[in-house]
Subunit: 237 residues, 2 copies
Amino acid sequence: MPSKNTHANEGATRRKLIETGVRLFGLHGFEATSTRALATAADANLGSISYHFGGKEGLYRAVLEHIVEIKMAEIGPGLDRVLTVCADASASREKLLETLRVLVRTMVGVMIGGEQSQAFSQIMMQEQIAPTASFDLLYSGFFEKVQAAWAAVLGRLTGLPTDNRELRLRTLSIMGQFVIFRVGMAATLRRLDCEKLSDEIMECIVRFGIQQVEAIVDGFTPVDQPGCACGRQEDRI
Amino acid sequence: MPSKNTHANEGATRRKLIETGVRLFGLHGFEATSTRALATAADANLGSISYHFGGKEGLYRAVLEHIVEIKMAEIGPGLDRVLTVCADASASREKLLETLRVLVRTMVGVMIGGEQSQAFSQIMMQEQIAPTASFDLLYSGFFEKVQAAWAAVLGRLTGLPTDNRELRLRTLSIMGQFVIFRVGMAATLRRLDCEKLSDEIMECIVRFGIQQVEAIVDGFTPVDQPGCACGRQEDRI
DNA sequence: AGGAATTAATCATTCGATTGAATATATCCC
DNA sequence: GGGATATATTCAATCGAATGATTAATTCCT
């Protein structure tokens, strides 16, 4: 177990392994990434994986923790601001809508933008499709919090309580409008006949994304529990 | 190369291998699925994979072809009907909206419903995240056709031509509202605290899905090429 | 000197693929 | 019809390569 190290390049190998892990695990998935490929790409010795992380699985877990840490540092404060606004009973509808717009812009930026984001998102998607033992790490550390922020805003705007089933389903559905560009990146690029989503395209997605989300909120009427479709709607802001 | 065979169980091993391949490849991905696991699960000999398909990769390609075949047989006629309606210049707005509703219902059914659908969709998602050499098979055989149908309806309803960039992006985004439930199935189930998406939940998704898509179409205003936001809108049906 | 970190070498296991023999069925010739 | 031949399929055994992990020796720095 490595403890304090006063070397100039303290934890350099460890760090390089994690960064390489993000890239390779994201590209090929857990199983298809060999420890040798990792060590070579990280300019590290094969044994250092076992030494620092106890094995391939330990490195993978460390990679997920690293992703959660970076991502939450990036968007965590923003999510907290969203929750604060939503907790304020006196927040105006316009204020809530503005918060929603910020969420869309953040979502698109995080999901699509950035070189590093790509590898991050790919690992997250891999975990969604074929969850490993470390799935909880991502879910509790990231997915749940993002969902909670979206659900908070949408809950205020629709009048549905945050534990409502329809609200949770709709929240996922609305987020899906943007997640698709990460998950269906291969098909998207083929469809647009280009090699990467340019800033211009991202801006376009943000713009119509905001329009679509607002249209959804404006047109909202509860559909779950058919008999009760008449209730609660007067609580909407 | 196996040709005509009048055996009673003609191609039985071949068929069993493909069916098992759908299941295992979907569960663990291409790399993480071993030929031994495939052969054992299919009650076949290890050598039969090479014999029938030339190797693991050949079996995988056959699995993708099988998926495309089944899926297109399932939804192909429906997609053709959609294209027919959209090609009819005299089709009313209500007719187009009804077509859109059918597409939503089909999408949810295909993406979420069915035991077999699960393995199918998982393979498709795997290919999206980490496209293999056989990606084209899925894209040309399935993705492209589904996208084309959605784009045709949405194009008519928004007045955008089918080769318009914004239309294509919006089409993907709108489809994303339903794809998310397949791709984010793990997170969805955790969020709802259940083990499978019941028929009741699927019906709920269809209902609010239709509502949301209609709201998006109703609230549509072009956002791409900012200077031209004033044009074309009068062509909408 | 002494602990932390790195290195090369090696372990047993598993991988995908191939082989040649064995089996089963179909086709042909008389 | 019936033996002989040809073809299609299955099977157990084995190949070399690659895998994850471990070890003991070595290097590096305080």
